[in-house]
């Protein structure tokens, strides 16, 4: 698919390029905010963007908290973006190339926040999918749990956590677990996320962990050990593998986000709507694609070196 045909299919891609966002996913956060207004809170001060590369959510945070903010005391606002991959700089955003599961990362963020807790944590991270649906869903949930570990150590009581999910077989188990940490869990689907995709976002409102539980990040403890005593429904680590038992499941309330007038990410558009018509016909993506791990294999294939000879 050429550059222009992608434009036609996907107005959000086009819009992202025009507005200087590094990826179309920026609109997902904007539409989530249209519904929940978590970024419009004048008291919002400290914000963490996990698995942030290439950085479109950080861009949204930067613009919302600084550029578009009427709040005069925006100088005490702080945005920290963390990813294992390097990220090009974004105004008002401190980027850390670090592992979100590592206690050192936690310490660095807390340091940047002057040992104050965060008001808002988000993660738009997703692993590469293998096609083994159960494994892919598990890895995605582990990514969320890793983000949640850090969040548990850094989020203030009453704070907000937002993360990408894939609604597969065991998503109701995740909802159930999150219910022990937050007052309210919503499964939100922005209109900029394709209806044909399993992608959605959990919006966890009102951080409120069990009072008798103290989160402690340690490189040698597993996610499960970390949440011991928190997820009351979950099996305890014991000296015997437990027999199978139906685990607690809950269905979070679903909420579509973004007005019905916003662009439809599944639609093919012929005429570019007037709202974005004043732009050059074909723009280059702001962030060029990163080097895929199979780059060398592609080169070999292109030069005919992978053609079957046996």
């Amino acid at each position: 698919m050429g550059k222009s045909s992608k434009d036609k299919r996907d107005l959000y891609y086009r819009k992202a390029k025009e507005q200087g966002y590094r990826a179309r996913s920026a609109f997902k956060l904007l539409q989530l905010n249209e519904q929940f207004h978590f970024l419009d809170d004048p008291n919002l001060k400290r914000v963490v963007d996990l698995c942030a590369a290439p950085g479109s959510w950080s861009q949204v945070l930067s613009r919302k908290l600084f550029d578009e903010s009427s709040n005069s005391n925006s100088e005490d606002r702080k945005i920290v973006a963390v990813d294992l991959q390097p990220m090009s700089p974004i105004p008002h955003v401190t980027t850390l190339q670090a592992d979100i599961t590592h206690p050192k990362t936690l310490a660095r963020i807390l340091n940047l926040f002057g040992n104050e807790k965060a008001d808002f944590v988000c993660s738009d991270g997703a692993p590469d999918v293998t096609g083994l649906h159960d494994l892919d869903e598990y890895i995605q949930q582990q990514l969320i749990m890793s983000a949640l570990q850090l969040t548990a150590c850094i989020l203030k009581k009453g704070g907000v956590f937002v993360a990408k999910i894939f609604r597969g077989r065991d998503i109701d188990m995740l909802y159930s677990q999150l219910g022990y940490l937050f007052d309210r869990i919503v499964c939100a689907k922005p209109r900029s996320s394709r209806g044909t995709s399993l992608e959605a976002f959990i919006v966890c409102l009102g951080y409120n962990p069990p009072s008798n539980w103290t989160p402690k990040l340690d490189i040698n403890t597993s996610v499960d050990e970390f949440f011991q005593g928190c997820f009351l429904n979950k099996l305890c680590i014991s000296d015997k593998l437990s027999p199978w038992d139906e685990e607690e499941r809950n269905i979070a309330k679903f909420m579509a986000c973004g007005s019905l007038e916003s662009f439809d990410s599944d639609a093919t558009y012929h005429d570019i709507p007037s709202s974005i018509v004043n732009s050059p016909s074909s723009l280059d993506p702001v962030q060029s694609p990163t080097n895929p791990p199979y780059k060398k294999a592609l080169e070999l294939k292109r030069s005919g070196k992978l053609t079957r000879s046996v």
Binding site: R167, R169, K240, S242, P243, W244, T268, Y269
Partner: protein, 1013 residues
């Protein structure tokens, strides 16, 4: 609801003696691989999938998958239907598991690189880990070398392979070099090597002692999922997302280095991904398991099991062997295989014989007549070799059964032709065979000789008129006719009883050019079916029917029953094997292939020469013999039938099934072969449509065809009656297919018509369609909805075979997911669902030239108007869901004044909406019931059954739910989990006249499950 059968990803596979054990969803299937029998299906887990199997020497089985682990006795797995009670759950994902050296314990490697040492009752004895390492793993195995030497081999997501000692909990190596996630690691039994594979599509061989990278193996074209050492650690076998299984030699050089070199490639699964592999080393048989649910056996000694699979000779070799002296520049110009061996002719007219028994060459004679442009043919059943030249000379030689003697020989010149440029032969009857000669001179006739099999004398000569552009390329006979395939994709049929009868000509059967084979397939009544192949990759099944009308000459008519195209390459011929599977052969660039087209896997391949190759494929008693010239050498490659069954399961699509449609009422038009179940279609993300058959009692599925006409991922397929099916996909592809199931051996299906597209370079997706028939005719209206919000109404006339656009318009700018045409009383209504969760009703009654038959609800034609009307404004709109409606079904009540619409949404909701005509006869939507959390994920399909008293839904949370509908309210009646991931499609065969009779449910996604309700 009861599960009858399941086809879907098989994630792991293991040999144990004569058994093959395969992880098939939450089951282990046990097969006796030699006899190809399924011995048992044993359910191990409640709903986790079996990802790995380990078998101890004492016949204990350790199986794991996701967070589940179980230890079982082989004898139980062989006999029992369920062992779910033994399932144990770990808190983390189990990446690898194995028995300890003395098999008294098990080691479980979790995805956080921790090992649990457990006893055989799953009591945890100790926990081991590597301090400071907690990277999540995609892969990892535990290798037990001895009671004290156990290595953990962990493949991380960050490109590193961490090898650590279990007991000392110390790191041995962190092997760096790969890019991306590591998908498998294995160690050689001799402890010398580590092999790993990753997202970067390479295999790397490492020295376990030094940690040094020894070699990189490039060959796979996608991610590699599994690999293992075999043949005393001298070889590697790998399986990949590219659907191939590859064999690598580990070539050890003197410098103690080792090099990976690719030695074989097997294209054996459907897109995409082979997950599991195992090798039975004493037999050199491999088994692979894939996302397509196939279990494929591969003979790793396909080239050396009988010892004479590969022979090749230069003329010098032949001289040396048996003293035949060749001229300078002499070369082999033609050859033909026989049961006794090969007969060949050289450029100097030497006729040679190669004996398959002695493997010796012999010069039979030299005939200088056949120096110029010799053509070699043969009648294998009678050991008759046929040589011809461009001067219209023919030499016939008949050999004794063992090939030792020439028992008959004839040579003649044909004065009828000025020149000959092609000669073809074909079997005719018990007494004779046929030989045709073609002249390039248009004034010459097309000559056909009937020749006695006994004494090789000409019994009769036929001189036929040639049509224009006639260039024969293949020949077959049927009763008293000959069928001649020609260039321009043409078949010409001559009547041997009347040379002057005008031939019956079938032109442009496919877009290709040279017809490469014509084979008789089956016949019924006055019709016969032939398979016709074309070099450009197309194959077509044609039905020839002979009609007799008193006082008129016989009349032949031809109908295309089936057409399809090979994935790539040249198609040189095809035949049915003894199992009724369609086998094709040809070339993909320099590679010869023999392919099982029915089940889609390669049977054999051989790298031959370039494009002007001289080759021949002949059938032998237990397989085929391929002869070709490459680099001036004559090659003989014997392709024996496999010594083991080719497959233990054929499987289904390797990617998501997007839609399923069961052919209604199949029993009505078949003769009994397809009476115990139904013919059905599956439309997949892999761009193909499969036509298969399922047995109602056992749920067993047989695949007949895989149609490759669509070029993009399928959206929908639907049988609109027992003869016609429609499929749609992106790029505005919508095809009307015609099914023919009157023949005994298999149904056939071909495209009858293609829907016109809006532009020459269409990029719209046809999201859905619906059909309403015109009363008592084959004519219908078709509504199509598009990704740009367009709604089109077409009229299809059966006898004209033509789609005419009668109405079009656009809803808004959003994508439309569903459409149905509903008739209520005298109103024709079109209901669509855009991505925003609304139902929108258009009343098109006034704008189309139809009225409604008030009893059946079918349409009645009025005067057909040739203008295209505009879509009127909607009459009713109602937001039922918060976001896209993923499934839509309806029933109309007996008064035909109320439709109940069932909708399932991306918002997890299930809606029941009434569509009713108000006092002013205007259609109005009214919500009857809505269940907000009817599933924990998107509801992808829903159907109303028992006249709307019940409904079945499927959703991405892998739950099938049965609902009761009473007084317009939904209540959950039953729910069952399914192993089918990305559950996305459903079709139900039920009998509404007998609401209590059994219903069969087909559920598709990544796999296919058949349920009975």
């Amino acid at each position: 609801m009861r599960n009858l059968s399941h086809y879907g990803p098989a994630l792991c596979v293991k040999f144990y003696n004569d058994y093959v054990l395969a992880g098939y969803g939450p089951f282990i299937h046990v097969y006796d691989y030699r006899s190809n029998t399924l011995i048992n299906k044993c359910r191990l887990f409640h709903y986790n999938k079996v990802h790995g199997i380990n078998i101890s020497t004492y016949g204990k089985i350790l199986a794991y998958g996701a967070r589940s682990v179980t230890i079982l006795k082989l004898e139980d797995v062989l006999k029992k239907a369920s062992l779910e009670d033994s399932e144990r759950i770990n808190s983390d994902w189990v990446t690898g598991a194995t028995f300890s050296f003395d098999e008294s314990q098990i080691y479980l490697l979790t995805c956080y690189n921790k090992v649990l040492v457990c006893d055989l009752n799953c009591e945890v004895i100790s926990r081991k880990s590597l301090s400071g390492e907690r990277s999540i793993l995609y892969s990892g195995i535990i290798k037990v070398f001895g009671p004290d030497k156990v290595y953990v081999n962990a493949g991380t997501v960050m490109g590193g392979v961490i090898i650590w000692d279990l007991f000392s909990e110390t790191k041995i190596h962190n092997l760096l070099g790969h890019e991306g996630s590591i998908f498998y690691v294995n160690l050689s039994n001799n402890g010398k090597y580590v092999a790993s594979c990753s997202d970067d599509r390479s295999i790397r061989l490492w020295d376990l002692q030094t940690g040094e990278q020894l070699s990189i193996g490039w060959s796979h074209t996608a991610r590699i999922w599994n690999l293992m050492f075999f043949d005393n650690d001298t070889k590697l076998i790998s399986v990949s997302e590219d659907c191939t299984c590859r064999i690598w030699n580990i070539v050890e050089s003197q410098k103690k280095d080792a090099e990976l070199s690719i030695s074989n490639v097997y294209e054996v699964h459907l897109i995409k991904s082979i997950w599991g592999v195992d090798v039975k080393e004493d037999e050199m048989i491999a088994v692979t398991s894939g996302n397509d649910g196939r279990l494929k056996l591969i003979d790793l000694h396909q080239l050396k099991r009988h010892g004479d699979e590969e022979l090749s000779f230069s003329l010098d070799d032949i001289t040396e062997q048996c003293g035949i002296i060749f001229d300078r520049n002499e070369s082999i110009k033609g050859f033909q295989g026989f049961p006794f061996g090969v007969v060949a002719i050289t450029s100097s007219g030497k006729i040679l014989k190669f004996s398959d028994v002695t493997k010796q060459w012999k010069l039979l004679l030299t005939n200088e007549n056949f120096i110029s442009y010799p053509i070699t043919n043969g009648i294998q059943t009678d050991n008759i070799a046929v040589f011809s030249n461009n001067k219209s000379d023919v030499l016939l030689m008949k050999f004794s059964e063992n090939g030792a003697d020439i028992i008959q020989s004839e040579e003649f010149h044909l004065d009828e032709l000025s020149k000959t440029n092609n000669c073809l032969v074909a079997e005719f009857n018990d007494q004779s065979f046929l030989l045709t000669l073609q002249s390039p001179n248009p004034r010459d006739k097309f000559l056909c000789l009937e020749i006695s099999r006994q004494d090789l004398k000409i019994k009769s000569k036929h001189c036929f008129n040639k049509p224009e552009n006639f260039s024969p390329s293949c020949l077959t006979s049927f009763k008293n006719h000959i069928l001649v395939g020609s260039r321009f994709s043409t078949v010409v049929i001559y009547n041997l009883l009347d040379d002057n009868e005008e031939p019956f000509i079938i032109r442009r059967l496919s877009p290709g050019d040279t017809t490469t084979s014509i084979e008789f397939v089956e016949s019924k009544d006055h019709s016969a079916v032939f398979s016709v192949t074309n070099r450009d990759g197309y194959y077509v099944f044609i039905e020839l029917t002979k009609t007799y009308v008193e006082g008129l000459p016989q009349h032949i008519s031809c109908k295309v029953l089936h057409s399809n195209k090979m994935m790539k390459g040249f198609l040189e011929g095809a035949f049915f094997n003894s199992n009724g599977e369609y086998i094709t052969y040809g070339f993909k660039s320099s590679l010869f292939y023999l392919y099982n087209e029915t089940n889609c896997y390669e049977l054999a391949s051989e790298v031959c020469g370039g494009s002007h190759r001289l080759w021949n494929l002949s059938k032998i008693a237990n397989g085929h013999i391929l002869m070709y010239i490459k680099a001036s050498r004559f090659h003989l490659r014997k392709i024996y039938n496999s010594v083991v069954p080719e497959t233990l399961e054929n499987g289904i699509h390797g990617r998501e099934i997007r839609d399923i449609s069961i052919c209604p009422n199949t029993n009505a038009n078949t003769n009994g072969n397809f009476n115990n179940g139904h013919i059905f279609c599956t439309a997949s993300e892999d761009t193909t449509i499969k036509l298969g058959y399922f047995d109602k009692k056992t749920g067993k599925v047989n695949n007949f065809w895989t149609q490759r006409k669509h070029v993009s991922g399928l959206q929908r397929c639907q049988f609109i009656n027992e003869r016609l099916m429609i499929s749609s996909s992106a790029r505005e592809e919508l095809f009307l297919w015609e099914l023919n199931d009157k023949y005994d051996k298999r149904p056939y299906m071909t495209i009858r018509q293609t829907l016109p597209t809006s532009t020459n370079n269409p990029d719209l997706r046809i999201m859905d369609f619906d059909v309403k028939f015109v009363s008592q005719s084959g004519n219908f209206i078709l509504a199509t909805v598009y990704s740009d919000s367009t709604i089109k109404i077409w009229y299809y006339e059966d006898d004209q075979n033509k789609f005419d656009l009668i109405m079009q318009g656009r809803h808004k700018t959003c994508c439309l997911f569903n459409v149905v045409i509903i008739t209520l009383k005298d109103q024709i209504l079109v209901v669509v669902s855009p991505t925003n969760g609304y139902l929108v009703v258009y009343d098109i009654t006034e704008f189309v030239p139809f009225t409604v038959d008030l009893t059946s609800g079918d349409l009645v034609e009025t005067k057909l108007n040739t203008t295209i009307s505009d879509l009127p404004a909607p009459v009713s709109q109602l937001q039922v869901h918060q976001s896209g409606i993923k499934s839509l079904d309806y029933v109309v009540d007996t008064t035909r004044s109320l439709a109940t619409i069932l909708t399932g949404g991306d918002d997890n909701g299930l809606g029941l909406t009434n569509l009713k005509l108000d006092d002013a006869n205007t259609a109005v939507l009214k919500l009857s019931d809505f269940i907000a959390s009817a599933a924990s994920s998107t509801i992808t399909s829903g159907m109303l059954i028992n006249s709307g008293k019940e409904a079945i839904t499927t959703s991405v949370d892998q739950v099938i739910r049965a609902w009761k509908i009473t007084a317009g309210k939904l209540s959950l009646a039953d729910k069952k989990r399914t192993t089918v991931a990305d559950t996305g499609s459903l079709d139900i065969i039920s009998n509404d006249e007998h609401p209590d009779s059994n219903k069969t449910l087909l559920i598709g996604g990544v796999g296919l499950s058949i349920w009975s309700k």
